[in-house]
Amino acid sequence: MKEYKTVSQIAGPLVFVDNVVGVGYNELVEVTLPSGEKQKGQVLDITEKVAVVQVFGGTSGLNTSDTSVKFLGETMHLGVSEDMLGRVFTGLGEPRDNAPKPVAEERLDISGAAINPYSREEPRDFIQTGISTIDCMNTLVRGQKLPIFSASGLPHNQLAVQIARQSKTKDQKEEFAVVFAAVGITHEEASYFMRDFEKTGALERAVLFLNLADDPSVERIITPRLALTTAEYLAFEKGMHVLVIITDMTNYCEALREIASARQEVPGRRGYPGYMYTDLSTIYERAGRIKGRKGTVTQFPILTMPGDDITHPIPDLTGYITEGQIVLSRDLHRKNITPPVDPLPSLSRLMNLGIGKGSTREDHKGVADQLYAAYANGRDLRSLSAVVGEESLTDIDRKYLRFADEFENRFIRQGNTEDRTIEQTLDLGWELLSALPEEELKRVKLDFIQKYGGKFRNKEKKE
């Protein structure tokens, strides 16, 4: 192992080391500060003479004369084992719970490798989260990556915890695990997650990686990758169904921008690097199922949209990679509707694979489409009636208006603890739709209107 004392320049998180020989790109580095403290880093750019090293722990206290840099001869690896379950680690993978480091069964490169699309298997197992807006209208399936698009001040953490707590599949005997990566969130938020995991007993089946707001920001590049390496190992080697929660991806992107600007790269939109799409994809694409292997990796990244703007590069690029999104709405939150999931901009791309006869119920797709169309119509009419007044609307329009209100109050609103089965959710949908005349229900098959909606419709008529 080679050690150098030839640091020539320090700029932000970057350290330039001169006259290095035989160092590889992306190689792991150990930097010894003048104080004797040690920090990890990674080679970002290497020429025959100079290596540019990105230091994870921050560069305060470094100088050019007394700093020594050791190149460790390999890219960053993580020792993984089943014993990691129930443990808490730092954002760099060191134990944070005062217990010894678990003995590694395997050492894996944390940047992983792309799953061959030929080896993938389509995600199609329905996961019941117990939340109507997700189960019915934006169905989650095992192996999907479905981010929560939130904004500051909205209860995304409560929603994530509720999903982690309530999620189940038809076959409940299967082994599951939760991998949680905190990326630059506050101590308070992190302890909310830990308390809830502890309370519900989920902690035993969880691996936590915590990079908190006061930890070095450059570490945030590493934390999600450690989490996903662990998740892939538990899923594809140990056959578990792993739910990965990463919060908050906005902080990850900020760290990416910080490094790019320290390297004086040509910036793309809003100063974020031009390769942010590719970089994010190396995180989000690490989800799915593989032919012939039992386990799955399902990803729930959370991000806060700066300024509630869904066209901001972070949610925008995320939406182009992930298989849909769950969007939280400030308007619904203000109306005190929990969880404030706005179904209209939300989407699950893999929904069609996981629903229908055999997995949920044959009328599922029709009900979901009909609810969508009716609620969208109701919302449009709301803005119209604000201008022209409710009286000048037609009868049928007024029915839609009322439908939209009922839909928000009964379907979307369910609180943080109510756990609805898919059947309850679909029946509730039919009940709400019974307020609309039959000829308006063009999205559902005719026979289903009687078969599933009948009990609600007929009751209505009798009254």
Binding site: G24, P117, V266, P313
Partner: protein
């Protein structure tokens, strides 16, 4: 030809090699001990800048770099169809055999199967004079596609024989300029060089896509170009996949360029199961898939577009009609941007390189309806349909704008339509096709003489609806005269009962032009009669409550072999309106 140099700098997917003497721009090089594949993209003095198609972690300055002296090329020969390639034509199933479920580095697999024996039937005879591009003979590639073997040289055919051959066996010899050229079942072609043809024609035949919004209002021509821009979640990929499934092209090249892995898996699982209505065989028999997902190396993503279009041109040269779907060209442009940034080039708009417009135009210009080289005389075409993913759905950005300048059809995906589950979420007013008029004679001759009129009338109604909606926003619908309210009603019927189409419904997913015509004719008849009825003093409420409207709404579910049922609805429209008059 091979020359050795050594690595001097590594920064992401771009590396610099020294001492590659005689290396040319765009030559393929093998980098490092693991022989990673790369391509020279810039030469400065003694230094060659190389983009590497694989992950570069762990590479060290001083490692060996070998130039092959050849530019990036593809293997063209039987066995391409039904394949599933990465961006540089490596078969992903072979990669799985070699490396398992995760793609590791330095895997060397050949694009085509060189062991398999093909049954070659010669159609040219020994002693004949041949031109490059002449069909020498045929191989049955899949159950539905005959692969025509094209001469690669002009000269005298001194030897040719039918029989069972592997790709490497010699099937014949062409003597030209006193040199003997061995002919094989395959040859190589440089991906960045368009394949030559004799003449290019304007497109005059529509590509039947089965999507009503496309075929009726924004038709795509065979040999034409189209672009589909839209924000995420608006249904670009579903639209692209529907076009790949149902368009009446003979060959489909589908490029998943920097998109999701699961989406490609879906195509891969679905196509072998989908039966082509024309041939009764799986769609996969005429399809080649190219996947370079977003997390696969970015330089190979840049190459994937060229790999795909070269394969498409090759089948065009055999005389086939080829559709190429590229999903998404924005990811390709981003790959250009990323490489350009690593080269520290002066950026143009939004960080994209200044040559973005030229590269996009060059790519779309490889589409077209052509008379190919060689005999017998034949025509082939390549239709290019590119998805564009504008950031935030705002098409004022450079990739969308430069694409719009070169493509002739614009299918505007709209997120507000997608949110109310109006699929395909293609906006009828924002979309356009510059082929509409050139294709009208075809529609008049092959579908119905009144097709252009029906289309224009329906479009006028939708346009009128948009104007009326603005008034409704201010004063409410009741303030409009009955006649205008009736226009709103019919426009709504066009939108919901005609334009909305479910890609997942067994019947509705595909509508022939005959069915489209019958449906549109019925709705427009309803319009005509409704206008007449209002003139006679019949109330709008009565028209809104008509029973036949329900049947019009279910016309889309009428199977192709029962088009009479739609005609029956047409008659019922007349009957019910006649009845209204009597009351």
């Amino acid at each position: 030809m091979a020359v050795n140099g050594k690595l001097s700098r590594i920064t992401g997917p771009v590396v610099v090699a020294k001492d590659l003497k005689g290396a040319k721009l765009y030559d393929v090089v093998k980098v490092g001990e693991e022989k990673l594949v790369g391509e020279i993209i810039k030469i400065v003095g003694n230094e060659s800048v190389v983009q590497v198609y694989e992950d570069t972690a762990g590479l060290k300055p001083g490692e060996k770099v070998i130039s092959t002296g050849q530019p990036l090329s593809v293997e063209l020969g039987p066995g391409i169809l039904r394949s599933f390639y990465d961006g540089i034509q490596r078969p992903l199933d072979k990669i799985e055999q070699a490396a398992g479920a995760f793609i590791t580095r330095g895997i060397d697999v050949s694009p085509l199967d060189h062991k398999k024996k093909w049954d070659f039937k010669a159609t040219k005879k020994k002693g004949e004079k041949v031109q490059a591009g002449d069909i020498l003979g045929e191989v049955q590639e899949t159950d539905v596609i005959t692969h025509r073997i094209l001469a690669t040289e002009s000269g005298k055919l001194t030897d040719i024989k039918s029989g069972k051959y592997t790709l490497d066996d010699q099937i014949g010899t062409i003597e030209a300029r006193n040199k003997k050229h061995p002919e094989r079942l395959y040859h190589n072609w440089v991906v960045r060089k368009p394949r030559p043809y004799r003449e290019k024609f304007p497109p005059v035949v529509p590509l039947s896509t089965g999507m009503r919004i496309v075929d009726t209002f924004s038709p795509i021509a065979k040999g034409g170009t189209a672009c589909i821009p839209g924000p995420f979640g608006s249904g670009k990929t579903v639209t692209q996949q529907s076009l790949a499934k149902w368009s009446d092209a003979e060959i489909v090249v589908y490029i998943g360029c920097g998109e999701r892995g699961n989406e490609m898996t879906e195509v891969l699982n679905e196509f072998p199961k989908l039966i082509d209505p024309k041939t009764g065989k799986p769609l996969m028999e005429r399809t080649v898939l190219i996947a370079n997902t977003s997390n696969m190396p970015v330089a190979a993503r840049e190459a994937s577009i060229y790999t795909g279009i070269t394969l498409a041109e090759y089948y065009r040269d055999m005389g086939y009609g080829v559709s190429l779907m590229a999903d998404s060209t924005s990811r390709w442009a981003e790959a250009l941007r990323e490489i350009s940034g690593r080269l520290e080039e002066m950026p143009g708009e939004e960080g994209y390189p200044a040559y973005l417009a030229r590269k996009l135009a060059e790519f779309y210009e490889r589409a077209g309806r052509v008379k190919t080289l060689g005999s017998p005389d034949r025509e082939g075409n390549v239709t290019v349909i590119g998805a564009v993913s504008p950031p935030g759905g705002d098409i004022s950005e450079p990739v969308s704008q430069n694409t719009l300048r070169v493509t002739k059809v614009f299918l505007a995906l709209d997120s507000s339509l997608a949110q109310r589950r109006h699929f395909p979420a293609i906006h009828w007013l924002k979309s356009y096709s510059l082929y509409t008029e050139t294709l009208d004679p075809w529609y008049e001759e092959n579908i119905a003489a009144d097709w252009p009129r029906l289309r224009n009338d329906a479009m006028a109604l939708l346009q009128k609806e948009a104007e009326l909606q603005e008034i409704v926003q201010l004063v409410g619908p009741d303030a409009l005269p009955e006649k205008e309210q009736a226009i709103l009603l019919v426009a709504k019927m066009i939108r919901e009962d005609y334009l909305q189409q479910s890609a997942f419904h067994e019947v509705d997913a595909f509508a022939t032009m005959k069915k489209q015509h019958a449906m549109l004719k019925t709705i427009m008849r309803f319009h005509e009669r409704a206008m007449g009825a209002i003139d006679l003093g019949i109330q709008l409420k009565t028209i809104t409550g008509m029973k036949v409207r329900e049947k019009i709404g279910r016309m889309k579910e009428v199977p192709e072999d029962k088009l009479k049922d739609i005609e029956a609805v047409y008659k019922e429209v007349d009957k019910e309106f006649d009845g209204l008059r009597k009351e």
